[in-house]
């Protein structure tokens, strides 16, 4: 997704104004002119100016081009689903890994992505299982990262 600079500029200007306004609610530092609000305000102001320039430049240089440009792959449903699946996989992991556990979440995510991206299902399952166990062994055992056990808790 590519946008005309003006579109991005407008979004950034809104963000900048929000930063500045919100920063004004920060309490002042007793006996000091410079408090917690100083840096966010300065950064917000600079962002406001820079994105305003971006808007002007975007409008001047537009010359009839579209406000937003979608790369050719966005018209191919397969690719759109690919990106969506990657994002969904991470979101899913964030929400269910604690309850389901690392082993099952990792296996499902890997196997789904492999098969969707065109790996043969037999190879996909084998690599998904192998990768899951290697990561579990390496991070879980060797590095002592407390990977969520999830459903394993029910068994033992």
């Amino acid at each position: 997704m590519r946008f005309n600079d003006a579109v991005i500029g407008v979004v950034l200007m809104v963000v900048a104004v929000a930063i500045i306004l919100y920063a004004q609610t920060f309490p002042a530092f007793p006996g000091q002119d410079y408090g917690p609000s100083l840096f966010p305000t300065v950064i917000g102001a600079a962002l406001l100016v820079a994105s305003a320039v971006l808007v002007v430049r975007g409008v001047v240089m537009r010359r009839g081009t579209a406000w937003a440009y979608f790369a050719p792959w966005t018209r191919e449903p397969h690719h759109v689903v690919s990106i969506a699946l990657v994002l969904l996989a991470v979101v899913l992991y964030i929400f269910v890994s604690d309850a389901v556990g690392f082993l099952l979440s990792s296996f499902v995510i890997l196997a789904t992505l492999f098969i969707w991206l065109g790996v043969g299902w037999r190879l996909a399952l084998v690599v998904a299982i192998a990768t899951t166990f290697v990561i579990d062994w390496f991070f879980g055992n060797l590095m002592r990262v407390p990977l969520p056990r999830g459903i394993l808790n029910l068994i033992s």
Binding site: I8, P27, A50, H79, S82, I109, L123
Partner: protein, 496 residues
């Protein structure tokens, strides 16, 4: 000298050597696969090195990045796709040589001069860093404030193509750095009551997101991007390298010097070093018309430059805590995690760690020749690893790695947000490196400003009253003035 002996002892430990060996293989693999960068190798390594002692952790990063920057040349020559952005400057030249049947010579020159360039960067690092550290011992919050300003300015100044977008990227990074407890008054900013955000945006997951997850997102829609190597069999790569050394030694010296310098400037790393030195090589060549037709001269300059930039980037990182490139930005995060806060005092308190970094740099560049030879020989297999298997595995690695840093899904949330942001930024032509620099330097900037203001009781003049601070301040303001002037002229040219 005791510290040097200790450092040798630390590095020549079998465990450390094994870690370096594995890191080297990992670096070569990541570097030679197009789309996977040296920065990504570092970001993925950090969770792995999280529980190691400082020396093997740093040695692993040094080794992996050195190998990755060299290995990026391999697909450049064989597929016309740079393995890492650092090889992009001379990919066309290398591929033109391959088409002329000179793939062996090209790869041999890339390997030998990568190693030599890396050694030059290391030597400069070894000589310059301790001397600068001695100077930096006298620095106070005033000098550090200006240094941070200069570092941020460099990031924008060097990105000459789109300075405005670089500035915006930088501001985004600086803003993200203000999230969390503020350094002076202890007030939670922009946390919206979320406890996890109080400690700020965790840096390593953000890097993993920006440099690895965004690549995965780009990669899954472009699985067929890679063709087959044009040349399947690789002969003796070292034949003909000798005469090139004799003929183009000046190019090597110049390329390494430019590379080290560019590397040491904050915000510019191996990729920009290669572009600049390639351009310089063409500009001063006796036969500029041969450039682009498969001529080895520019390759010598550029391949030396990108490896020497790695060493150069560690100079400001170790001495001032200001990263020279995005790799050392991660390294600074690692140093803090290991309790060795970068700065001149590390050179006094833990000189053995600093020397250990130096030694691992030398060792890595020596190891590069045999391992690089093996990598070139097995390039056919490495380049054929299917991407549809690789990308999901990398994604899983990112998830677990980010989790490992915070021990909670909070790390994964940051990774995802940074990944999407990084993807959208790159798609729209905003460079990511300035945002990273802003994120790293934001707190340093604010902390030193606030400390200085408290010391000077609110007088801004104090920022110019100490000699070094004054010079740094004037230089910074002069560069800003120059940038605004250039920007105005450019706008006039566009609107006119």
């Amino acid at each position: 000298m005791d510290a040097v002996a200790t450092a040798f002892g630390l590095i020549l430990d079998p465990y450390v050597l094994m870690v370096m060996g594995l890191a080297a293989v990992f670096g070569i693999f990541v570097g030679s696969i197009p789309g996977l960068t040296a920065t990504m190798a570092t970001a993925l390594l950090v969770p792995v090195t999280f529980f190691m002692e400082p020396v093997p952790a740093l040695a692993a990063i040094v080794t992996a990045t050195a190998m990755a920057i060299f290995a990026g040349d391999i697909p450049g020559a064989l597929l016309r796709i740079p393995g890492t952005p650092a090889s992009a400057a001379y990919t066309d030249e290398s591929f033109a040589m391959t088409k002329k049947g000179q793939a062996e010579l090209n790869l041999g020159v890339n390997l030998v001069f990568s190693a030599l360039g890396g050694l030059v960067g290391t030597i400069v690092l070894i000589t310059a860093a301790p001397a600068l550290a001695e100077l930096a011992l006298n620095f106070s919050s005033f000098e550090y404030f200006w240094l941070a300003c200069l570092g941020l300015t460099c990031a924008v100044f060097i990105a000459a193509e789109e300075p405005l977008k670089a500035i915006i990227s930088l501001l985004i990074g600086l803003f993200v750095a203000t999230i969390g407890i503020d350094p002076a008054a202890g007030f939670p900013r922009f946390t919206f009551g979320v406890v996890d955000l109080m400690a700020g945006v965790s840096f390593i997951p953000a890097m993993i997101g920006m440099f690895a997850v965004s690549e995965v997102l780009r990669g899954v829609v472009d699985l067929q991007g890679i063709g087959r190597p044009t040349q399947e069999r690789i002969g003796n790569i070292f034949r003909g390298v000798g005469p090139v050394c004799v003929r183009y030694w000046k190019n090597f010296v110049r390329g390494s010097a430019i590379g080290t310098l560019v590397g040491a400037l904050p915000g510019a790393g191996a990729d920009i070093a290669a572009w600049i030195s390639y351009a310089v090589s063409k500009r001063f060549s006796k036969e500029p018309e041969k450039f682009g037709t498969g001529h080895i001269e520019g390759v010598v300059d550029a391949t030396s430059a990108n490896n020497s930039a790695l060493g150069g980037a560690w100079i400001p990182a170790l001495v001032f805590g200001i990263p020279g490139d995005s790799i050392t930005a991660i390294v600074i995060g690692v140093l803090y995690m290991k309790g060795m806060n970068p700065g001149p005092t590390v050179f006094l308190q833990n000189p053995q760690f600093i020397y250990a970094v130096f030694i691992s740099f030398i060792l890595a560049n020596l190891l590069m020749v045999p391992l690089g030879w093996l990598a070139i020989k097995s390039s056919k297999q490495v380049l054929n690893v299917p991407r549809n298997l690789l990308l999901p595995i990398i994604l899983m690695f990112c998830i677990v790695g980010s989790f490992a840093i915070t021990n909670s899904v909070y790390g994964i949330v940051i990774m995802l947000a940074a990944g999407v942001l990084g993807y959208l930024m790159e798609e729209n032509g905003f460079p990511v490196a300035p945002a990273i620099l802003g994120l790293v330097l934001g707190e340093m900037l604010e902390q030193n400003f606030m400390t200085s203001m408290i010391k000077s009781e609110g007088s801004f003049i104090a920022f110019f009253q100490r000699p070094i601070a004054g010079v740094l301040g004037v230089v910074t303001l002069a560069i800003w003035a120059l940038m605004i002037w250039r920007g105005l002229r450019r706008t006039q040219a566009v609107t006119a």
